[in-house]
């Protein structure tokens, strides 16, 4: 039986190729009844003589495209899914008699499985070259997807970090550095827009009360006489004077911040 060559090309133009051992294994395994393949594929111990490399299983999974009517795809998918999970760093570790789960690692592992699962399904609809690498170096490809997800989660977490040092109360050095980077160079219109949005977000957690007022300002009047129409005083649970003071402080802070940037951008 013919084995379809992979299609993805390296940036050098060279086509991705399966390792010779894998190609040999695929040829051999194509002679087995499917039940035998499944039985061997369920072996998880790599030291076992009958262990089937994951690259071989990916090839078999893709070949089920030609026969959609049985459960072969699902059987192979379930095994591969377990193997993707196994190739990711373990999120569970035993502590005494209980199992502790590292939520961050579990989140990254799930995102990695999600990514490969999506590739598997898009490949069924129309050949997806991104899946080719999993027939060449399965575990390394999973690790590569894993590190990409990890970096995304890290970026997200860093973005959610407090702007101030929780101990000293000073603005964190990394925030200062980021601001400095912007100040040193002129901003394009796009960067300026991005910066203003980020500035709003940055101010928000530190001045939640004043920003609440600013957010509400766009939509609601401080006081309203119309029945059923909420006012800022009702929404914030404050008297009119407090609302006005908060609003004025919020506007002043934003004005100062933006003025400062305009000045530095000159």
């Amino acid at each position: 039986m013919d084995i379809e060559p992979l299609r993805k090309r390296k940036t050098s133009g060279e086509t991705y190729t399966r390792r010779p051992l894998i190609t040999e294994f695929i040829k051999k395994s194509l002679q087995w009844p499917f039940e035998d393949l499944l039985e061997r594929a369920s072996i998880r111990d790599r030291r076992h003589n009958d262990y089937v490399p994951s690259e071989v299983l990916v090839c078999h999974l893709r070949r089920t495209k030609s026969n959609n009517s049985d459960g072969r795809f699902v059987d192979l998918y379930n095994i591969l899914r377990d193997r993707i999970e196994a190739a990711c760093p373990r999120s569970d570790s035993p502590v005494g008699e209980t199992i502790h789960t590292n939520a961050r690692l579990a989140e990254i592992r799930d995102a990695t499985v999600d990514h490969v699962t999506e590739l598997i399904f898009t490949d069924r609809e129309d050949y997806d070259e991104q899946l080719d690498i999993y027939e060449v170096v399965f575990e390394k490809a999973v690790r590569s997807a894993h590190i990409t997800k990890l970096r995304k989660v890290n970026r997200k977490n860093n973005a959610n970090e407090d702007l101030q040092d929780p101990v000293t109360g000073d603005v964190r050095a990394v925030v200062e550095a980021a601001l400095d980077r912007y100040r040193k160079h002129g901003l394009t219109d796009e960067e300026d827009f991005d910066y203003r949005i980020n500035l709003r977000r940055a101010i928000d957690p530190r001045h939640a009360k004043t920003m609440d007022t600013t957010e509400l300002r766009a939509e609601f009047l401080i006081e309203t006489t119309k029945d059923g129409e909420p006012s800022m005083t009702e929404l914030l649970g404050c008297v009119e004077k407090t609302v006005r003071n908060r609003r004025d402080r919020a506007i002043e802070k934003i004005r100062q911040a933006l003025m400062l940037e305009v000045k530095n951008g000159e």
Binding site: F73, T101, T117, F121, R124, E125, V137, I147
Partner: protein
Amino acid sequence: MANRDDVLSDFTVEEELSPSVLKAYLQRYPEYAQDLLALFNELSMTDLEATEASLPLETKAMNAETLRVQHVRQSLFGSGVKEFARELGLPRAFFTGLNAGVVHLASMPTGLLKTLARKLDVHIQDVISGMQQGDGQPVSMKSDVKPGGEAPIEFADYVAQANLSEEEQRALQALLAGDGSD
């Protein structure tokens, strides 16, 4: 400029991941230096952990994934299906039939899997697991179809047999296109 994902893929399939190979990539693609360094570190660890990873896996415990799959099953086949179906503008029976025993899982459009995962705030693999587990009972999408004992059908055939109204078909097309009107 070379695509980041392509460069990282090329690096991953290199026969030998030595510092000299890393150096060559860093010189060729300085714009991806951080990604390459992180990947090199990760792939170096893969080799070190190979022995450990060869050990049999532990049995899965009750974890977040189990809960997410339960949520999928409850939303598609259980008490949550009424509200979920109303929210997405499709008949309840359409979702209760989205069971691996009725619809061939491999024929499920990626767009629909992604949309369902997003709507339910879970991963694609959780939707697939939920569909495989179903509600534990043989499920029929229509009262005139015999439940169980029959080979699953293609998703396209399932839709054709579902007798969806025009409005429901539009709702389905929006889901297939990944149009999340959250």
